[in-house]
Symmetry: C2
Subunit: 96 residues, 2 copies
C-alpha cells in the first residue's frame, strides 16, 4: 500500500506541480482549470480520464461548461500520496 | 429565449423523466448515477457530453470513481426549462 506523504517528502512533491493547492484538512490537492468552451473542457477531461485509468488512480472532479475542478487524494491512505503527485504531474503535462 | 417551466408544464415535463429529483430552490433537476467502475462511468459521461454538445446545453456534473451526479438547469432562464427536460430525456435513453 502506498504511504501518505508527510513533511519534506510532501513539500518536495508539491514543488513539482503547477498551480495545485494543497488542503491539509482534506489531505488533498486541487486545481481549477478554465477552457474556451465545453468542447475543450471535455477534451481535456477525456485525456485526463485515460491517464487516470492507466494509472489506476482516479480524480474527484466536476465540470460546468468551460470549468473543470480536479481534486486528488488517496482515500486508502487517508491523504496525499505519490499516486496523487504522479497523476497531477501527468495532468500538468496534458495542459502544457 | 427559452422560458422557465412553471406549474403544470413543469410537472408534465418531470413526469417524463426517470429518477430525476427537482429542487425548487435551485430551479434544477439532478440525478446520481452509479456504474461498475470508472471506465463505465466515464463512457457514460462521454455519451452524455456528446448529447449535451449537440443540444447546445450543458450539465453541471461531478464524478468520483463509479459515481456521476448530474444537475441540469437553464442559467439564462433562472430555472428549469424544456432544454433541461430534453437533455434529461436523452440521458435517460443513454442509460436505458
Amino acid at each position: 500500500m502506498v504511504e501518505k506523504l508527510v513533511g519534506k517528502a510532501r513539500e518536495d512533491g508539491l514543488k513539482t506541480l503547477n498551480g495545485w493547492v494543497y488542503d491539509d484538512a482534506a489531505g488533498a490537492i486541487s486545481h481549477a482549470f478554465k477552457f474556451k468552451d465545453f468542447s475543450e473542457a471535455f477534451a481535456f477531461m477525456t485525456r485526463a480520464a485515460l491517464a487516470a485509468e492507466k494509472a489506476g488512480h482516479h480524480p474527484d472532479w466536476s465540470n460546468s461548461y468551460n470549468s473543470v475542478t480536479i481534486t486528488l487524494s488517496t482515500h486508502d491512505a487517508g491523504g496525499l500520496t505519490e499516486k496523487d503527485i504522479a497523476l497531477a504531474q501527468t495532468i500538468d503535462k496534458i495542459m502544457a
